[in-house]
Symmetry: C2
Subunit: 498 residues, 2 copies
């Protein structure tokens, strides 16, 4: 992968001086066009061999572009603190909104490569982490992010000479510590691991650009020119939604005999008020004990509630969190995305709320909006919600692998019961704020929602994060059921990891 960067490249001073002004002007123009269009974000990854000029390139690019619209972040190998959340969490935090840029010095490649070189990860784990990166980058590109992946290379001899020179110069000696020296000793191992990383992640949507790092003028000009071409192509490309899937109608077929999951539920189950009070207290007690279980310090909890309007999500969440210390949990209600959120990949706003170990988050509606309301209302394209199942499964797998327990509830009511509750809301003064014309409009789309729920459960109820579908016509029975199911599910997940 590094063949042409092994040839020594060079640009003479005069050429460099002559070329830079025009390049800078063009870069700024392209950056502003990106900003004005606000249709795509651009992320620059700066990776490569120690001493190959990565840090200098970051500074140069920030000098040539307008740094007010660039977020520059450095990433190193993961620390203990980083391990309290899923690996990709920290990268989600720095994704630029549409129109903006980010320059990442070190990236999601750094830790996998270093961990492989130092033997912390075996070949299989390394391959899996690279596969996760492929998946992540494909998702970013599908969401309209342009990836510019730089790899700055130095041949072995040059790497050794460069380290010596840096160590000898009092102005730069601080940059060479025991770590840099250890890295150099493993130069060959680094090349083997990097070769595999670059090979497996050079997708057509996100290719690598390898640059010989020896000559500063060559390096800067090569990086600047490539970045310019990617910026210009980002500005000229059609908006991401216009990209089509290879085969049109992969939309899931409706059940042939009309029998859906929701219709097959038993909605007749009831519990008396008296028994409810007793059971509620029991399961709340159990839930409280679980939140203080020592093993929960290494785990976190995400509870998702979805359901038709008036299914009882809000009141159930209130009973649930009543079991917990206020410092332990957070309730996140999800409405239509705001402007900031629309400028990001759709999973972005959910990544933000992922709890650290020892904490819980309850979502009142969630990322499943993509395959429910956005699908039914046509807020996103068929291709978008079809790929969302896959992306959601990958997302939840990442959460669970990082120790998050993901419990998902669909509160299922019948159309008749919904009608009864709507009417009650209209006639009860303190409930009138809870019913809007939109609720009535959604109700008319009941069959479409029912199909969407069916497809959602079929495609995202997995061993890793199963759906719990609970009949909710009787609110009391449903609440007990939810608390009991949650307790048992959390218990099972804790036991499994031991």
């Amino acid at each position: 992968m590094f063949e042409s960067a092994e040839i020594e490249h060079h640009i003479d001073r005069a050429t460099y001086k002559a070329e830079v002004p025009a390049l800078r002007t063009a870069l700024l123009q392209a950056q502003y066009a990106l900003l004005q269009q606000a249709q795509r974000a651009l992320v620059v990854l700066i990776n490569g061999v120690d001493g190959a000029g990565r840090s200098e390139t970051v500074n140069t690019l920030n000098a040539w572009l307008d740094p007010r619209h660039i977020r520059t972040e450095a990433f190193d190998v993961m620390t203990e603190e980083d391990y309290r959340r899923p690996e990709m969490w920290r990268y989600w935090q720095v994704l630029p909104p549409k129109g903006q840029m980010a320059i990442l010095f070190g990236s999601w490649y750094t830790d996998p490569i270093v961990s492989r070189v130092y033997g912390r990860d075996d070949a299989d784990r390394f391959a899996r982490r690279l596969e996760r990166i492929r998946h992540f980058e494909r998702m970013l590109v599908a969401e309209g992010v342009v990836l510019v992946k730089f790899w700055f290379h130095l041949p072995k001899k040059a790497a050794r000479a460069r380290l010596k020179a840096l160590a000898a110069d009092p102005r730069t000696a601080w940059r060479i510590g025991p770590r840099e020296k250890a890295h150099l000793k493993r130069y060959d191992d680094f090349i083997v691991a990097s070769d595999e990383a670059l090979r497996k992640t050079s997708q057509p949507e996100a290719p690598w650009h390898v640059i010989d790092g020896r000559d500063e003028a060559y390096r800067n000009l090569a990086a600047g020119r490539y970045l310019l071409s990617m910026l210009q192509s980002a500005v000229q490309s059609p908006p991401p939604a216009a990209a089509a899937t290879p085969v049109a109608a992969a939309e899931p077929a409706p059940p042939l005999d009309g029998k859906t999951l929701l219709q097959a539920l038993d909605y007749g189950q009831r519990v008396s008020r008296e028994r409810y009070e007793r059971l509620l207290e029991r399961w709340q007690g159990r839930l409280n004990a679980l939140s203080r279980d020592a093993r929960m310090r290494e785990r976190s909890l995400v509870v998702v509630f979805e359901g038709m309007d008036a299914a009882g999500k809000g009141s159930t969440i209130r009973r649930l969190v009543a079991a917990w210390d206020a410092r332990y949990y957070r309730v996140v209600p999800i409405a239509a995305p705001n402007e900031n959120e629309r400028a990001q990949p759709y999973l972005w706003r959910f990544w933000r709320y992922i709890p650290a170990h020892g904490r819980a988050v309850v979502f009142d509606r969630s990322w499943y909006g993509r395959v429910l309301v956005e699908r039914v209302e046509g807020f996103c394209s068929l291709a978008d919600w079809m790929r969302a199942y896959d992306e959601i499964n990958a997302y939840e797998e990442q959460l669970t692998e990082a120790g998050v327990i993901v419990a998902k509830f669909w509160l299922a009511i019948t159309p008749d019961e919904q009608l009864r509750r709507f009417r009650e809301r209209e006639t009860t003064p303190y409930k009138q704020h809870k019913i809007t014309p939109e609720d009535w409009r959604n109700r008319e789309k009941w069959p479409q929602y029912e199909r969407a729920v069916q497809d959602m459960v079929d495609r995202t109820s997995t061993r890793v994060a199963p759906w719990h579908v609970v009949a909710s016509d009787d609110k009391l029975w449903m609440r007990v059921q939810v608390l009991k199911t949650l307790c048992r599910y959390v218990q099972r997940q804790l036991d499994r990891r031991d």
Copy 2:
């Protein structure tokens, strides 16, 4: 993943009888439209739980469609014979050409799932095999193949009852052996592994369709209807070449200072005729010994020659194979694809020649035509050759993992030397057949080819299958160099595996 197939579905006899005739007519019409267009192939995968009606469905589909345009194949777990070639080889053999269909009873999912259930593969290896399948299916779809992936499900109770019924009936008792009984005992493990397989391979381009297998009428109608919708969408979709990449110009940038890999070579190396004869004999002897090395019985050898016109590929191959027993090797010259080959994914015609263990194949030009002549001449789109690097790397990785040694040579000559050889061909009577107007036309595109070679080496020279670029202005020196390099490379690969 199996939620809605756990609900018992049913179609009554009268409805079935009323619906089937129209469905059959529509299926045949769609099949013939596919055939006439000859733009896409369609592959049906039949997978699922034992006794869920997979075999019956294969028969029904063959009865409803015109079986003359369908290739039906059954695949079971891999046998020792299968392990003599890369895993995916046997599936490449049965891919239907454009316009045709294939029905695969059992598929590339069967062996990974069974191997996982019986503990032959650990979790990491299972995940890697699923990832390979994702990659394979994405490639198929990009090449215009439509995938119809059926999973026939039976709940545990129904699976047990069905097995009992089959065993009790003398007409079907033969279908239930110790294997089927062992599978049933591991029903839960099968569901866990299948859940992971379906979840990780439900890509938007190739979704799974899960069908409740209990009721024959429901099963047939559900499968037939879904197949019909996919056939119709295959016919209505635009040809695959029209599908665009999300971001336009990801084309690799040319080297900034104009210094290419090929120009950096030392073309001045020479060897005397006398020394050449001696060295040739030595390395041919070495190559012969290697072909008879006991370890080669578990390995196979693929040698690839690429180079500009008149670089000396043919004459070098003759010297190379002179070292071998005629039963050991095969030389495969690659020209422009014929009609049959154009009706298949571009890697198809190369998969066909992959040698079994203990054999060698020498390619005179190869799959690299995709990123050389097809790129330069515009025979395929930018998106096509850009994704080819990734597909070729995955292909070669599969070969090497299956024990194939892949040695790739680029024979590099200078433009001056090519001109000298062209002139010599024109003036030497017995060489005149070797020079055509096309050779002169290609020569005019030298700079484009040089860029294509540079990108090819940068993107496909990997630890798994590196490129050997050999200066070839002196034919004698080059031949010795090729034989020596090949011997040493094969030797290293044999030693590495021990």
